[in-house]
Symmetry: C2
Amino acid sequence: MKIGELAKSLGVSTDTLRYYEQHKLLTPSGRSEAGYRMYTQQQRRQMQFILRAKAVGFSLKDIQELLQIQIEKHQHSCEEVKEITLQKLHLVRARIEELQRFEQSLSKLAQRCCGGPESADFCSILTALEDVDGTCN
Amino acid sequence: MKIGELAKSLGVSTDTLRYYEQHKLLTPSGRSEAGYRMYTQQQRRQMQFILRAKAVGFSLKDIQELLQIQIEKHQHSCEEVKEITLQKLHLVRARIEELQRFEQSLSKLAQRCCGGPESADFCSILTALEDVDGTCN
DNA sequence: ATAAACCTTAGAGTTAACACCAAGGTCAAG
DNA sequence: CTTGACCTTGGTGTTAACTCTAAGGTTTAT
């Protein structure tokens, strides 16, 4: 299968497939006479693995590791795989907490602001950001 | 006050202050004879405004808008300010939801994996990522 | 035979918010 | 008078995951 067919069948761009090749995530099985990249069902499955891993939040760098392990499964342990997963989980949770702090601050600011058409001279949002004691949180 | 003094008093780098100047967030009040940037208390307050806005999750681009409004308050309405705040709030919430989906998937994957020292041949995480019906969510 | 659709490489551009570097000028203290 | 701390500009580097462009070769359908 040529790059365009694989791309279309998975809903990604050909650029993405070439990018993944460059970054050692998916190597075509070979080249046609004209130099075109050729892919088999095996590569298609690997690309699906990549897409599923992306869908659960793994970065391409994580996925590289996971692929390495997947390809040589019996040389690796469950522990390794779980470790990668847990690390990502912690990272995601930390980011969620940071964003939740933002959410708290922003929703409080928004709640206290009348949001009307009057001049912003006494806007509570601006005041909060200006003043030392403006409650931004 | 010179750039280094302002920077130190606010816990930012001089690079940051120059960057903000380039991006129209904070312009020094003038230059000394030697060409050094000079700042007044007014600029210091503006920088604090910027830092507080950053702390609640606004991007520098948002802050540009907010500053514009703050500087010419009576030509703008509360509505505008609240609109910026609400837009950011929606964006933050959307990002949180995306990350929470990641969190769900990752924690389920992690829970089902034994994480032991045995070979990854039958690792449930890898299996989930490989199979069409592998429950990644 | 030619046009449309596909493929190739290499490289630049995108976004955010800085950090870092080089080469040089300035200022205060001892 | 010299050392060290500070300042200047202009430029490059960082991270992630692509996207786009240019200039050209290939295949397929009519």
